[in-house]
């Protein structure tokens, strides 16, 4: 009887192992395998087809001598800083204002968040239309009598990247609002009573007490936004196609172009490894801190 029980337990745990085969295959082949493959190709001389020779860091050296790559890095840094800052600030403000026991709160929340449900492509195309210099906002301003009005950022080499900031902030700040709002709702009412008794102005409470308490919401939002920054591709393709010229080039698009359009997979692999290293360098410490905090039961 005991033997039968043991046997049963064994067969059951075999089922658990079998059930995890898809996950194991995904992890080993799709995640680890592809990472190793890409790392390997990045130190080979591969162009159209992968080679198995070893050329050391020469693809990386070529990469960092490539004007277009340097421009795309510069763009993504400018884009990332502005996008994350704007989303966090706007999202936080929206959450704070919505939290003032206002009327039609549900409707407002719905309005602020709906862009997030749409694809980056659709968002990009909408803004491409609104910012169109011939028929968009610029023309409306001119018709209104501001004949010198100029708002042609989307076709301006120096400004194109900012139009992508506008479109994606419009799309993603509602998400930050939703996260912050759930953080605000978790704050004890007593805090507000105490602050009122002490006569501390509301804005002061928000800045000095509430904001620090929202730490977890802010870090979650930051990670989400950061991942969006690294991935930014769809909206650029839809809005400017990286243009004018290569003015709004971003790393994700650079890699896709060199992989599939320009057949230089060695260089593209080096670029994606650089991207991967950046992501891990920023996200890993955040998650380490968070898991330690979770261990302490906070």
């Amino acid at each position: 009887m005991t033997a039968a029980l043991v046997k049963k337990r064994q067969s059951v745990s075999v089922a658990a192992y079998i059930a995890l085969i898809p996950m194991a295959l995904t992890v080993l082949l799709a995640y680890l395998g592809t990472m190793l493959w890409t790392a390997r190709v990045s130190v080979s001389s591969s162009r159209t087809f992968p080679n198995s020779d070893f050329v050391g860091a020469s693809q990386y050296i070529r990469l960092f001598n490539n004007e277009r790559w340097l421009l795309s890095l510069q763009n993504v840094v400018v884009y990332g800083v502005l996008f994350i800052a704007a989303c966090l600030i706007i999202g936080f403000l929206l959450a704070v204002f919505i939290d003032q026991k206002v009327m039609a709160e549900g409707a407002l929340r719905t309005i602020f968040l709906y862009p997030y449900a749409m694809s980056f492509v659709a968002t990009g195309l909408i803004w491409q239309w609104i910012l169109n210099p011939e028929l968009g906002i610029q023309e409306v301003l001119r018709k209104l009598g501001f004949t010198e009005a100029k708002f042609d950022w989307i076709v301006d080499q120096d400004m194109a990247i900012y139009t992508i900031v506008i479109a994606t902030v419009w799309q993603a700040s509602g998400l930050v609002m939703a996260l912050m709002l759930s953080g605000l709702r978790g704050i004890d009412e007593e805090l507000w009573k105490a602050a009122r008794i002490d006569g501390i102005p509301r804005w002061r409470v928000y800045v000095s007490i509430v904001l620090p308490m929202l730490g977890p919401s802010v870090s979650t939002a930051f990670v989400l936004l950061f991942v969006m920054v690294v991935k930014v591709f769809d909206s650029v393709v839809a809005m400017t196609q990286g243009g004018p010229g290569t003015a709004s080039e971003v790393p994700a698009k650079f890699i896709m172009d060199y992989l599939f359009g320009r057949a230089n997979i060695g260089l593209a692999s080096a670029a994606s490894i650089v991207l991967l290293a950046t992501v891990l360098a920023i996200v890993a410490p955040l998650y380490y801190v968070r898991s330690r905090r979770a261990d302490k039961g906070m």
Partner: protein, 304 residues
């Protein structure tokens, strides 16, 4: 809709007290002014998109972006659906719509099924080594797609799945696995372990406990998972572009092709109608599911 989402009960008396305190003051007016301006900013693109899509081209050429249409027409919508050029072919965006449906349905079902089994096995059975697998899987959520795209193309080509419907479904399943697994793992981890132990004592095996006990209790998490996957996969552009193949291009890719074609006059009204048509499914899902959608974001947020 209830004003308080967190479920923190506020005593009626204190609500009344607050209401009185929040009487009409300049600060209060400022709050509403800010919110109204913000709401207008968020609604503006939707408005522009809608009015552009029902204007004839003559009205669009006037450059009155915000004006309401004088001669309202539904022709752009018909064109967008039936005859706009999505590259070489000019059969409108309807093909892309059905492609997206064909991709979304199996991808959603498959990724949820695998995520649920993973989550269940990880929370209750905890086979040796599963924890490490799961940790790497979570890291996979942060790996930029570009690192994996080319090798995956080679692997799919080697097994003859590249540019096919099963191929793109498989890709969505692979990329959906981290979030789906996390979602179900967290859900099952919150269920009482005693329940599982009792089922074990009653002689339930791995699959029987899953199918007859856990799955029927999983409705809320499945709803969230469906919303997340349907929106995510419907809105995907990059994976569809690379893996779907010209026969199965999803709607987002076809939409981009319609709008960024360089031949002929740009039909902005048709473009906007096509954009709305592409956004209809996720928007409808968002408006219908509301709070569930937000809950989905929040659980997706844990992963990033």
């Amino acid at each position: 809709m209830a004003a308080n989402d967190s479920g923190v009960a506020t005593a009626p008396a204190s609500v009344a007290a607050r209401r009185r305190k929040l009487a009409w003051t300049p600060a209060r007016a400022g709050v509403y002014a800010f919110l109204i301006v913000a709401a207008l900013f968020f609604l503006l693109p939707l408005y522009v998109m809608l009015v552009t899509s029902v204007k004839p081209m003559e009205e669009i050429r006037l450059g009155t972006l915000f004006a309401l249409p004088v001669n309202l027409t539904l022709e752009p919508w018909v064109q967008a659906w039936r005859s706009a050029c999505t590259g070489l072919e000019c059969e409108g965006i309807r093909g892309g719509f059905w492609n997206s449906v064909a991709i979304v349905v199996p991808s959603t079902i498959l990724s949820i099924a695998i995520g649920a089994v993973n989550g269940y096995a990880l929370s209750f059975w905890r086979p040796r080594g599963a924890g490490v697998l799961f940790a790497i899987l979570m890291m996979g959520a942060f790996i930029p797609v570009q690192v994996m795209v080319y090798p995956l193309v080679r692997v799919l080509a080697a097994v003859d799945l590249f540019s096919s419907l099963p191929g793109i479904v498989l890709i969505h399943t692979i990329f959906g696995m981290p979030v789906m697994t996390l979602l179900f793992r967290n859900y099952y981890a919150a269920l009482p372990m005693e329940l599982f132990k009792a089922a074990r004592i009653d002689g339930g095996g791995f699959w029987r406990i899953f199918l007859q006990l856990m799955l029927p209790m999983s409705t809320p998490v499945i709803v969230v998972a469906v919303i997340m996957q349907v929106t995510g996969i419907w809105n995907d552009f990059l994976l569809g572009l690379v893996f779907a193949g010209s026969e199965h291009l999803p709607m987002t890719v076809q939409l981009n092709n319609i709008i960024n074609t360089t031949t002929g006059e740009r039909l902005y009204n048709v473009n906007m109608a096509a954009t709305i048509l592409t956004s209809v499914v996720p928007l409808a899902l968002y408006f219908i599911s509301g709070r569930w959608f937000v809950r989905g974001i929040a659980s997706g947020a844990v992963k990033g």
